[in-house]
Subunit: 143 residues, 2 copies
DNA sequence: TTGCATCCTGTACCCGGGTACGGGGTTACC
DNA sequence: GGTAACCCCGTACCCGGGTACAGGATGCAA
């Protein structure tokens, strides 16, 4: 007579901690499921898919608040708030910016490695050091 | 008679919150500075440079613990622990891996945008949806 | 009907990197 | 020598994304 999945089953199937289900419910990512007579949660089968969606979106760089918003957007689609596509475009811009930052970091690390820096502090004091210490004006007038 | 910089001056010059200096001291990133007769910290002028080094290294993807380690490594250079270069190589590998993850994410977002997905949940249910819902087996046998 | 697995609730804790607050002592300049 | 600005210390709080724990109540099968 089990009208739905128990939290342990859902958690297991989705590969998350059972506590996380309650947490997502509090955060508005999962709708409140039905309950058994004794008060145990009984989840509809689609919940497992929803959890995978959440994990995927999270992996795409969305925060839980953003994912909650995105899911809500799908559930009540009437409103003309900026849709998934628009938000994906914003997120893409963020991701691209993060990539270019990391490219700079990687290039800097490669240069540092190639030039054999072995001591950060010493390198910072050395004008030949390739690591950019953000405009290290280096005003060392030691009066 | 000021034998060193006061915390506010250092913080200002390095562009950090004065509280952060105490925090870094606790975390072992800054050595304990001298004190005035009344107990106020008096920092050597090089501290500002050290702070810039910290911020730079942090920007290169090192955690504060790693930075503390790196600085310490420079200060007591006798030991033959893996040096800056080796650690930079490890960090570079991490950064490169993070970049390629982000590239995948960006590509996925671009595909999603191009195909006009407007509802995450609907897309997840649609076999033509390009967003990879991690093997979404989608076993929806709704008995 | 008994027994154990699972579930319920609220609350507290974890990580990293700081920031804020309160109450009191010190410095520096006029 | 007054007084404003600064600094001291310990402690608590913030963010995001969960996880753990304690003490009871249910579910389900033998």
């Amino acid at each position: 007579m089990s009208e739905g999945l128990r939290s342990g089953e859902v958690a297991e199937a989705a590969g998350v901690n059972p506590q996380t289900l309650r947490y997502y419910e509090r955060r508005g990512l999962l709708e409140e499921p039905g309950r058994s007579l004794g008060g145990h949660r009984l989840y509809p089968p689609g919940t497992v898919a929803t959890l995978r969606i959440i994990k995927t979106a999270q992996g795409l760089g969305f925060t839980l608040d953003e994912v909650a918003d995105l899911l809500d957007l799908g559930r009540r689609r009437h409103a003309h708030a900026p849709g998934l596509k628009a938000r994906a475009e914003l997120k893409l811009a963020e991701v691209e910016s993060r990539i270019s930052d990391l490219e700079t970091i990687a290039a800097t690390l490669r240069t540092a490695i190639a030039s054999g820096c072995e001591d950060l502090a010493a390198c910072a004091a050395d004008p030949r050091c390739p690591i950019p210490f953000t405009g290290l004006t280096h005003s060392e007038d030691p009066t």
